[in-house]
Amino acid sequence: MVPERDYRTRLQVWLPKLVLSPSVALIAVFVYGFILFTVYLSFTDSRILPSFGLVGWSNYEKLFRLSHWEISIANLGVFSVLYIGICTVIGLALAIFLDQKIRGEGVLRPIYLYPMALSFIVTGTAWKWLLDPGIGLENTMHDWGWESFSFNWIKDRDYALYCVVLAAVWQTSGFVMAMFLAGLRGIDNEMLKAAQIDGASNFSLYRRIVIPQLRPAFLSAFVILGHLAIKSYDLVIALTGGGPGRATELPATFMYSYTFTRNQMAIGASSAVIMLMTIAAIMVPYLYSELREQKQ
């Protein structure tokens, strides 16, 4: 005796995929479709608008002959190493400190976090002021009687990039702190007690026991910071506009300016393709290892 076809079971089998499919379709078109479109553009002679005459690799050849692009890449190297490094160190230190049963944690935490809530369109002017030697910190210190205080990095070709790093760290280090804090709170307290009974000092306790266990938080932080570094655009525009000279150009500002202000859309597209490849080179191995691990 075979029961009638159970439509409900069949529906339940298809429903999950049905629910997922709009998202997958949207992402397929709006992310991957557009990436393909960009790759295609990078082989065309597009200038002010997309056009479809193929020109082979010449845009890439031009791109790598531009000293502007070289500077952007070199800047990105310095910027991302410093930005990721400093954010991680500050984030971790603040998280560890905040995890010591600090009075007023509830007040401090939102103070550390709030910069993430603001865009540089909002804080750009304030940052410009702070960094400007004529109005900002330097001037304030002089007013307060510290005449020899000097902070004019933003005006200096060799140091302006560090100002960009400073503002970027200001914006995200609190968020990194939150991730590490979440990781710390997830560690088994009994293990810490055991380590202390074993005679570990606080320093070695953190170095040998705690920090190694924060690996997932480290990975998440690296990925988030890494892609933020590559995408960094608005803070450069807000702080320096790429200057002094071209000292703070980054690939994202390069791409925008070639695509939209210089009417060389095809070269902009080829720089975008290089950026995407860089992001993929960071992300794909990470995603692969993470997802594999979860699957076991």
């Binding site: 369109i121 909002v122 804080t123 791409m255």
Partner: protein, 288 residues
């Protein structure tokens, strides 16, 4: 939660000092904005950036809200504020709901290649927005929603999906699958299980998702400027118009007041929901 680590008095003093120092560092730009938004312009151009006003005034705040010149007419930021709200609320709601459903499917209704599919969706988080501008404009045009709030909502939903799916997937991965099975035996279907069983327990991760999406969408300038019409321009575009005007006297106090207006909703969200944020991160995004 109680920590097993013990620290001495010297160390604690050092810790408190460091924490306070950093709090000052983080507060500095906001302080500059606040203090200068309540000064008359003359005090700003002549005086110290850090000093408190000699004459307190709320005029800049009033001007920024309803009188400042952001276009041909001196409307202030008020109309744009509502444009932003009209865009942000549906975009956050839709992307959160879709992310939640995606996370639910990817963890509780697993199928072949689901992990690969998730990786595929996750990559959406990392695309630089500048490159999608032109093709997106074309698609919006073809769909007939160019220059409308619905178009903006669509754009923000699409590029938020990767993040919301990530958050909910990680959160639901830790949610006991047995509950879903029990509910299945009890006779609840796909949506009923989601609605009655998972959703009521999703508070912390909803907070994370909403905070994340709200701040990102509210703060977006590029999409707002490119895909909005005269009647749907969001707050950030208006603020940019206010601050970036290149000629004439720069009314810095009005600029700062305007900037704080633009920051207020996101600040509010962070301060109100901030303590659930770490909890939500704990539950979701950073577990291995």
């Amino acid at each position: 939660m109680d920590t097993a680590v013990r620290t001495g008095n010297v160390a604690r003093t050092f810790i408190y000092l460091t924490l306070l120092l950093f709090a000052l560092f983080y507060m500095l730009p906001l302080f500059v904005m606040l203090v200068n938004s309540v000064k008359p312009l003359s005090e700003i151009t002549g005086g110290n950036m850090m000093s408190f006003p000699e004459v307190w005034t709320l005029d800049p705040w009033r001007d920024a809200w309803s009188k400042a010149q952001v276009g041909v007419q001196a409307t202030g930021l008020r109309p744009y504020f509502w444009n932003s709200i009209k865009m942000v609320v549906p975009a956050v709601a839709i992307s959160t709901v879709m992310g939640a459903l995606n996370g639910y499917v990817l963890t509780k209704w697993r199928f072949r290649y689901d992990t690969i599919l998730f990786g595929f969706m996750l990559f959406a988080c990392f695309i630089p927005f500048q490159i999608v501008l032109i093709p997106m404009a074309r698609v919006l045009g073809l769909a007939g929603i160019a220059g409308t709030t619905s178009g903006l909502v669509l754009v923000h939903v699409v590029y938020g999906l990767g993040f919301t799916t990530l958050y909910f997937r990680n959160y639901y991965a830790a949610f006991p699958t047995e509950l879903v099975r029990a509910a299945q035996i009890d006779g609840a279907g796909f949506f009923r299980i989601f609605w009655r069983i998972l959703l009521p327990s999703s508070g912390p991760i909803i907070v994370v998702s909403v905070i994340w999406q709200f701040t990102n969408i509210w703060n977006d300038f590029l999409f707002g400027a490119s895909f909005a019409d005269f009647d749907s321009q969001p707050m950030t575009v208006a603020l940019n118009n206010l601050v970036q005007s290149s000629t004439g006297v720069q009314e810095y106090n009005v600029h700062f007041a305007g900037a704080i207006y633009a920051a207020l909703p996101t600040l509010l969200v962070y301060v109100v929901a901030g303590r659930y944020f770490v909890r939500g991160l704990m539950a979701g995004s950073v577990k291995g």
